[in-house]
């Protein structure tokens, strides 16, 4: 009988990898460090997903259900991997509860960590209560409480969304584009306009990267149907006059400094490498690429390959990734893992 597969991480990529292996009759052990499956969309309480518009708890929830309902898959929550030794289709793994496993291949679906906005103090997060992150706005929407200013619970009349918070910023060592924040911000802007039609939403951007069809469904829809306004300006600082938040910067298209009052400022936070990536790199003996994400091996020979033969990777562990692509990568990494174990047996 062939050895089981180890999938590390129970987010969209991990759920997809485990499901793909499970339905093909392979035994899977799915290890998740948190106490429940679902990854960022569930743990961080996302609202409606881009681009499907489905609620995260329904869309990702159904992926969780089909994994927990599959007899070939063993789910271990609140568990991490402590040690790993092996090669050639024979990996010995020690878990955090000191159980040991022998698996034929490993798929890392260890995801990302949201950028922590306190690392950009000039934009007021942590100083002013009404400066929040996209994740917090997602939670306001998904919890049903609605978008409100945290300081006093009032409905905001004017919201600024600042793009590229923790992305494309050499000053803080994050040179990458987080890829999804533009579309997510446009989505949030539309949700705010839908819930609060009298609230005006301004998006401050340097470039807009609502790639592919998202151009129509998010960038233009937000402007044409929802009258969201986009201003080409990188904000210099967020302060307060005691009553409102004051957003300062330069409107680069009219070459003018701006000092505009807002009720609420939203940071479109980017995707950092998983904070555990150094540890993961040493435990699994895989290289990290220059930004700290898990490095990919030859993408054309074997989808999802890492620098360690027999260990595969999928989703945002490899760099900023969309949910849809993470799911696709989970499935392709599963295929690569099967191919690998068959060639070893």
């Amino acid at each position: 009988m062939s050895k089981p597969y180890l999938v590390v991480g129970g987010g969209p990529a991990g759920l997809s990898a485990a499901h793909s292996l499970g339905i093909l009759g392979e035994k899977v052990i799915l290890v998740e460090k948190e106490d429940r499956l679902g990854g960022a969309p569930i743990l961080d309480g996302y609202a409606k997903l881009v681009p499907s518009g489905e609620w995260a708890k329904d869309a990702i929830g159904s992926m969780v259900d089909r994994v927990t309902g599959n007899d070939n898959i063993t789910v271990l929550t609140s568990t991490t991997v402590k040690e790993q030794n092996g090669a050639d289709g024979n990996f010995d793994v020690t878990l955090s509860n000191d159980d040991t496993l022998n698996v034929g291949a490993i798929i890392l679906c260890t995801g990302f960590t949201h950028f922590d906005s306190v690392n950009k103090p000039e934009w007021g997060f942590g100083t002013f209560e009404d400066v929040v992150t996209t994740t917090q706005v997602e939670q306001m929407i998904s919890s049903g409480s609605g978008v409100r200013c945290p300081s006093d619970g009032r409905k905001p009349n004017r919201v600024a969304i600042l793009l590229c918070v923790g992305s494309r910023d050499r000053q803080i060592g994050r040179e990458w584009c987080s890829k999804i924040c533009c579309s997510v911000s446009a989505n949030i802007a539309m949700e705010i306009r839908e819930e609060l039609p009298d609230c005006h939403v301004y998006v401050y951007y340097m470039d807009i990267r609502t790639f592919g069809l998202l151009e129509t469904h998010y960038y233009w829809k937000s402007q044409e149907e929802y009258k969201v306004k986009y201003i080409k300006a990188r904000i210099a600082e967020v302060t307060s006059d005691g009553e409102k938040l004051i957003v300062k910067g330069e409107d680069t298209l009219v070459k003018r400094p701006i000092t505009i009052p807002f009720d609420m400022v939203v940071h479109a936070i980017g995707m950092d490498p998983n904070v555990d990536n150094m540890l993961l790199s040493s435990v699994f003996d895989v290289n990290l690429e220059q930004h700290g994400f898990i490095d990919k091996g030859n993408a054309y020979g074997s989808l999802g390959a890492t620098t360690h033969t027999g260990i595969f990777v999928a989703g945002a562990a490899t760099g900023p990734e969309t949910i849809d692509d993470s799911i696709a990568q989970g499935s392709s990494a599963a295929m690569s893992a099967i191919e690998y174990t068959k060639s070893n047996s």
Binding site: L253, V254, P257
Partner: protein, 251 residues
Amino acid sequence: MPIHEKSLIRPENIKTHDELVIDGIDVSGHWSTFIESRVISDYNEALQEEISALPGGENIHRCFQCGSCTNSCTVNALNSEFNPRHWIYLIRLGMEEELLRDKDILWQCVSCNKCTYACPRDVAPEGVMKAASHWLELKGHTPKSPSTLFDTVFTDQVMETGLIEESRTIRGFFGLTNQSLTQGWLIEMVKRMIRHLPIEMLMKMGLATILRPKTKNWDAARDAMREYTAEQHALHAKALKLDQVTPKENN
């Protein structure tokens, strides 16, 4: 003043004080010239909606600031201050004060429609210029332009009679724009017409001036047109919040 890009500084923002002491430091005179920053301190959120409510402005929200309109613009080629792309941006974001700085050139669009064909987003910038000029007039920022006055005289006459009687149009237009009817070129034109036009045509023209003929059964058409234009005017006034008249004005 050896300042880079001095042309970008607005004269009213240059401040020199004959006597000024700040924190015990004397900053009087020419050597302590201050330049006030041209800060944008607020947005007028109604501006885009107001302009898009006027004919021609409907598609302004589609603009992505590529500059094809300005690049193709006939007037811009002659006056680089005439920049449709820039005004569309100001309108979209509600920078009313900035827009009003250009109120005396904004209406100079010649409606050649090169921008209409160049625009990749179907904004119809020519229409936006029309709507913006219209907005300036309705809000009282600029007097009615000669072309608006001409249109008014012309359409009023068409609506009233179903016909155009040129001398009446000219008299009406000259009256509204305070132009003399005894200008040399006009007198010369009339003289030549009398000299060279066939008698029959001259008589017809003379009679038309006196009798003011009307298209047969015109009244129904006139009423329908008047009703429609009144409706449109009311809609525009409402969109621009000009209908909120005080009781005093109402009487």
